[in-house]
């Protein structure tokens, strides 16, 4: 009920209860004529005899009292009988408004009360039916997933509409709704219903079906059907978009796999002859040592490392680098990488200040980094001694390897771009190299949770690069 005066509902009668009013009415209706008749009798008796016989007066009072009591009792029970169905209806309405739609009131007869009860029952059952329909629609909508694909979605949506609205048949037609003829409603025959699958910007199709002839179809039902149709339209749009995205993803994956196969093939075709060249040169060198053979070995090695570097660069773009982190001692690894380079003419000094520490790195990828940085140092160091220094960062649990050459260093203009792809420095007088060594190395280090940085330039010293990698401190013997 609203509290505001102006919107008070129409109030009928005084504030007494129905039962009290009915009782008062019956009592009044039966007692007033009796009392009037008594007064006439008394008046006539007094006019005839001049006085009132006490017996007649007593009888009169007695009947009056008896009539009042009888009338009260009678009216009370009658009122009770009349208000019982009203109270039942009130309770039922109360429960309906509380959400319980299962309550039905039964009243015998054809009177106004029975009509009231009937319309209440219909109200409740209509509410219950639409609630159930809404529930089934919501379930149907909840069950649709764009992953199901368009066909399954439409089959599912059609079946759901049929069950939810208890249709005889239902179908969804995609395309212009105008292409589907609007059927006329013929009384006594199954009733056609339809709702357009509408989106704010487009009409995707139409949902049509038939209801049993006996079934009521109100504006509220049509609203519900249209709500459902618009949800189906949204689901269809989602499924179409999802299919597009999936198709694109499929194409990308296929393209990626093709690229991977291509690179693998190239790599194989380049590495296979290099493997033979290198193996034969090594074998010959073993039989009859010759400096020229070791040049063949080193150069074929250089070539195959470059191929691997290019491969790594393409993998970096694809983001498919997955390092396998093993523990390894840094110093022998650096020494080996230096020896593989075969730059015997350049002095090399390795200082290990972190004895016992083990780096956590992917051995193959670390080798690539070491080779690139050392190769760089040889290339730009102009024959001056190269130093490598290994230190540990106890707090951070890291190993740091700094490789410094004795060359002119990196000019300030180039410092920012040395790690860019295809950069070779403006002061470059060595055009060889792929120009991706430092870029690949830095990315490889990052993939191993490490870093690669150019040290700040110091007057009269060459370029210095520091590789930092996660590391394990010297292990106490466990066994």
């Amino acid at each position: 009920m609203t509290e505001r005066q102006g919107q008070d509902p129409q109030r009928i009668g005084p504030g007494y209860s129905f039962r009290a009013r009915l009782t008062a009415g019956v009592v009044a209706g039966s007692v007033i004529p009796l009392a009037g008749f008594g007064l006439v009798l008394v008046g006539a008796e007094i006019a005839r005899r001049g006085s009132l016989d006490t017996t007649v007066g007593g009888l009169l009072v007695f009947f009056l009292a008896a009539a009042i009591i009888l009338a009260v009792l009678f009216a009370y029970f009658l009122a009770g009988n009349l208000t019982r169905p009203l109270r039942a209806i009130a309770q039922a309405v109360e429960r309906v408004s509380g959400g319980d739609l299962s309550v039905r009131v039964e009243v015998a007869g054809e009177d106004e009360l029975a009509q009231l009860v009937e319309s209440h029952n219909r109200l409740a059952s209509d509410l219950a039916r639409r609630n159930a329909e809404l529930g089934r629609i919501l379930v149907a909508i909840g069950e649709t997933s764009p992953r199901d694909g368009l066909e399954r979605l439409i089959t599912h949506a059609t079946a759901s509409a049929r069950t939810a609205f208890s249709m005889i048949d239902a179908s969804i037609h995609l395309g212009d709704p105008g292409n589907v003829v609007i059927e006329e409603v013929v009384p006594g025959e199954s009733r056609p219903i339809r709702a357009v699958l509408a989106l704010p910007d487009e009409r995707l199709g139409v949902l049509v079906g038939h209801l049993p002839a006996t079934r009521r179809w109100d504006a509220a039902d049509q609203d519900l059907l249209e709500l459902y149709a618009s949800e189906v339209a949204v689901a269809i749009r989602n499924a179409e978009l999802f299919e597009q995205v999936q198709e694109q993803t499929r194409q990308l994956v296929a393209l990626d796999a093709a690229k991977d196969d291509f690179l693998r093939g190239i790599s194989h075709n380049l590495q296979t002859p290099l493997t033979s060249i290198r193996a034969y040169a090594e074998q010959l060198d073993g039989e009859r040592p010759d400096g020229r053979l070791s040049i063949i070995t080193e150069q074929s090695e250089r070539l195959s490392r470059m191929v691997r570097q290019l491969l790594a660069a393409s993998r970096l773009e694809a983001g498919t680098l997955r390092p396998r982190l093993e523990v390894l001692a840094m110093a022998p690894r650096v020494r080996k990488a230096w020896e593989a380079l075969g730059s015997t003419g350049v002095p090399f000094d390795l200082q290990d200040e972190a004895t016992g520490w083990l780096a956590v790195a992917d051995p193959d990828q670390l080798d690539q980094v070491l080779w690139a940085i050392l190769d760089n140092a040889v290339k730009y160091g102009r024959g001056a001694p190269i130093t490598a220094r290994i230190r540990s960062d106890t707090v951070g649990g890291r190993l740091m390897l700094t490789i410094a050459d004795g060359g002119p260093g990196v000019v300030d203009a180039d410092r920012a771009s040395v790690f860019e792809r295809f950069e070779r420095g403006t002061a470059d007088d060595h055009p060889e190299g792929t120009g991706i060594g430092l870029y690949v190395s830095r990315e490889l280090c990052r993939a191993m949770a490490g870093s690669l940085d150019l040290e700040p330039s110091v007057e009269a010293s060459g370029a210095a690069f520091t590789i930092a990698l996660p590391a394990e401190p010297p292990a106490a013997s466990e066994s």
């Binding site: 590495q271 997955r322 466990e478």
Partner: protein, 272 residues
């Protein structure tokens, strides 16, 4: 260390070498023979399978990229027949998308162009585990730990954990001697090739990292037990469904696993 004389008492290890590049095939076969191996060669997968019918080698070395049947397919077919150790030669590296597939079928792989001493060292490491047999299926070591070594994975409290090749090699050696102590020296031999200059600290650190991966409480290891002064021991925790008296692990079939003729030395308690 794999000099010609070493194998004479037990017979030279037999290697089947499969590569489509004849230059490489001849050279590598010569090099391996010079090192005392009994080498047979095949030019492609079909020839390799025919040769396998007439006798099993101790090791298969196969090129990844071959016309008709590629190395991966051949390795899969061979593994479906028996648990024969396989080394794959390939021009791909660890970052290749096929590296994981290789992990499932190959004990090791060596990238081309290989350095012969490196390849020989890897062959040595793989052959050292010849006597070790671990069924190619899930090894249930307790309610919280299941190992699938041929997939290089452990399942710890239901969560899959990726193992590195070295970690799975160490676990393989320990699982082959379940409940028994494996010395640090043996683990060093199994985990690292001779060319890697590994020392015992590699074993200690790797075991420490492994515990952090697979032990519910790395500070109080329940499965990877240190035997002071000797080595390590892998023990099965007491799972509720495994009777404590059996002492062995329960094994469950993993999809695609095959009972291979080579892996008949199953741990006791299996088959119950």
């Amino acid at each position: 260390m794999l000099s010609g004389g070493r194998w004479t008492e037990v017979g030279a290890p037999r290697i089947l070498l499969v590569d489509d590049d004849p230059n490489l095939l001849v050279l590598l076969a010569d090099q391996l023979r010079a090192d005392g191996f009994d080498v047979q060669t095949a030019r492609d997968g079909d020839e390799a399978l025919r040769r396998l019918r007439s006798g099993w080698p101790d090791l298969l070395i196969v090129d990844m990229m071959m016309p008709r049947m590629d190395g991966l397919t051949l390795a899969r077919e061979v593994k479906a027949l028996a648990d024969l150790p396989i080394i794959v030669l390939s021009a791909i590296d660890t970052a290749d998308s096929k590296a994981d597939l290789l992990d499932e079928v190959a004990e090791d792989y060596v990238t081309k162009p290989y350095h012969y001493p490196e390849l020989r060292a890897r062959i040595g490491r793989v052959l050292r585990r010849l006597g070790d047999k671990v069924p190619r299926r899930a090894l249930v070591l307790g309610p919280d730990l299941v190992l699938e070594l041929h997939r290089r994975t452990a399942t710890v409290r239901g969560q899959p954990v990726q193992l590195t090749p070295t970690e799975s090699r160490l676990l393989y050696a320990l699982a082959a001697n379940l409940g028994q102590t494996v010395t640090t020296e043996t683990l060093l031999d199994r985990g690292w090739a001779d060319t890697e200059n590994a020392d015992p600290s590699y074993v200690w650190v790797t075991m420490r990292r492994l515990r952090q991966k697979i032990e519910p409480d790395p500070n109080r290891p329940a499965h990877l037990v240190t035997i002071r002064g000797v080595g390590y021991r892998l023990v099965a925790g007491t799972a509720p469904e495994v009777p404590a008296s059996s002492g062995g692990p329960a094994t469950t079939d993993s999809p695609g696993s095959t009972e291979s003729p080579g892996s008949t030395e199953s741990p006791e308690g299996e088959g119950s």
